[in-house]
Symmetry: C2
Subunit: 213 residues, 2 copies
Amino acid sequence: MAAKLKSFWKNNFMHLLEIAKRRKTVRHFKSKEVSLEDMLYCIEVAKEAPSGMNSQPWRFVIITDDDIKKNIRKICEKREKEFHEKLKGKLKEWLKEKHITWEKNFIEEAPILLLIFSSKEFPYFVQSTWLAIGYLLLALEEKGLATVTYTPPNPEEVRKYIGAPDEYKLEAILPIGYSADEKEKEERKNLEEITYLNEWKQYFKYKSHILSG
Amino acid sequence: MAAKLKSFWKNNFMHLLEIAKRRKTVRHFKSKEVSLEDMLYCIEVAKEAPSGMNSQPWRFVIITDDDIKKNIRKICEKREKEFHEKLKGKLKEWLKEKHITWEKNFIEEAPILLLIFSSKEFPYFVQSTWLAIGYLLLALEEKGLATVTYTPPNPEEVRKYIGAPDEYKLEAILPIGYSADEKEKEERKNLEEITYLNEWKQYFKYKSHILSG
């Protein structure tokens, strides 16, 4: 009985570090439907984030309609093609290595697209909205859902297509579904590479015994 | 036994929505020390966030030294004073209503200051870093710690003082400690005010039975 209960709780409640570590970017999705309840749960989590002046500048547009998805894909891919033709340097190499091309199948493939907008009328609208996206990504993972924070090269065209007012900026398009992506999570730097103590100088490198990772 | 185990799990593992709802901005802190282990746990969570090109542009500087805290407070308050004298409009009213002045006691009061920097060399460095801050805020709450995402008016002066290279931008200063702030959490909008379905038009207003909130 105790073991059963333990396994129930373990499956239903995780430490944040487990959720965060498990969460990876996904670009291929199963056709399995995503419940609107799960989607709304994740937005419920996101909207608890703090924001400049508590302005809550974020807006969420859930897209379930196949024709709309198809049109958004078309709008994005048109510019992606131009963008990829002009690419240079580090970004070009990185995208090639990751096999990321101008084709954005995931826009149509994912059962749900979530368009995230921010209102330009408030201080720190970009920062606040991305902070909320951080909340959202963890909530998706908690629900077993996957995504990629796709930032199209032409957010304005997508905004106009969806009919969002001028004051809003499209921050990201999140294709959401159950993962069909075999790719491993990209590696993260070690804590000691990104954390300093009291001055801009590596410190924790020599203190790895206190690290929790 | 089962009840005891249940209570253990319930105290140690929460659904993300509970953590997110409970989390509020805090500007007053107890003197109670914050363990470095807890601090590093939260950064461990944050560094799992995705970022443009997986560049992980974030850097974290933990400040525990009292003199450094005092100096950072001085640097910030000098410009805060000028900033508050010039204030106008909505922001001025909002700050007055919230009793937020140029004085930033919390910079000295909090047992730990966490300075968060982003590297300007990568695409979407601001967005990526704030997404990671979203992760971090939830981790702090999970550990029972509180903060405010303070954005000083003169991030460059603080950057220079701490000796961070030119390529880095100070995104926020987080005073971290145990809450001594009685203020209630600021209210959030309802889900139906910020969420649309397939077009920019209120929809969920009439569908409140499916909302999880």
